[in-house]
Point group: C2
Chain length 204, copies 2
């Protein structure tokens, strides 16, 4: 499916707004990313040393949502991704799972906070280790069907997110065209194909 | 496709050999994982602070390979993944791209080092940011067709990898059954579907 010009236009607007103007290295007064080092004895009697990435003292597991309206439109997010080439990332609502929160609750919370929507139909699409060599982060992706608007965005301080609507097949095309290059978004969009039949998503 | 019992048997053997017996937190004398902190001015005139993960002083970009024999069998790897639930990971040959190396060269090198194979046919499958919020790691996945054995494994010190052969459709099934939960492997296996027609891979 060809992507409509109005969708490209929205993407350009978001990229324009969030792109990096300048970057300055500063002292890390309260590090969010930290590493722990472990010595591990394997069952083959060999000993290895591995470092584990922690994010804010936690594993950094995230929930990702592909939100779909009754009209079968999906929501994509645009936000600063300052360490990527374009400095702006196009992806899906997502965020870290909080202490004591389950992945579904985190997915619903992020859907509410980042785009102001909710749903009664959340279908698990995938679960995966984001960086299995050096992290316990175990991410979970969901398909949110029949989403409905319940309010405005509620973003954290320093969080900037715009969003737009498009057809799922346009989102797949944007992925093919490298507009979306985020691993979480790619896995979620790919795994959702299973539920896409004859131009619409169906639940289970 | 049902996975053959001999494939499950090989997986069990690998998991048995590499599973964690005991773990001890130790001092991190020469940290591989490090974070840098940046203050960034966005085009909307807002200033944000973000941390960037570095691995061994580099971005940590990786190359991933789905190796396929002339008989259309794929190679899966088994290695210690000490921070995952099972402590052992099933995935694909992969590794960090070295300074000045391009992704294709890295893919060929890892294919040679981790399983002792090479190929003349390397097809780009996907490229993606592994953790776009806090890293520049840009991973690239390849399909390696008509691979041929050229020698034994050449593993780094502290690197332990076993490998096994199976049908691509068995690999997909193992992914469905959560034997494979590595983001890199999932993206690679999913993106390879495009080249899988009528029971075999074809080049382009």
């Amino acid at each position: 499916m060809k992507v409509r010009e109005e969708v490209y236009q929205k993407l350009r607007e978001g990229v324009e707004e969030f792109q990096t103007v300048s970057t300055k290295k500063v002292e890390n007064v309260k590090p969010f990313l930290q590493a722990e080092c472990y010595q591990i004895l394997l069952n083959n009697q060999c000993t290895i040393v591995r470092e584990k990435l922690k994010k804010g003292g936690k594993d950094g597991s995230a929930a990702i949502v592909l939100p779909v309206t009754k009209e079968n439109e999906v929501i994509l997010t645009i936000e600063p991704r300052v360490f990527t080439k374009s400095t702006v990332g196009i992806g899906l609502p997502a965020g870290y799972i909080e202490q004591g929160e389950d992945a579904k609750a985190a997915a619903l919370r992020e859907l509410r906070e980042e785009v102001g929507y909710t749903t009664n139909t959340l279908i698990p699409l995938a679960s995966f280790y984001q960086d299995s060599g050096c992290s316990s982060a175990y991410n979970q992706a969901f398909l949110a069907l029949d989403i409905r608007k319940v309010g405005e965005q509620k973003l954290d301080e320093g969080e900037y997110i715009k969003y737009l609507f498009c057809h799922y097949e346009e989102a797949l095309q944007l992925m093919e065209e490298h507009y979306m290059e985020d691993a979480n978004a790619i896995i979620t969009l790919e795994k959702a194909k299973k539920y896409w039949k004859g131009g619409s998503f169906y639940g289970i």
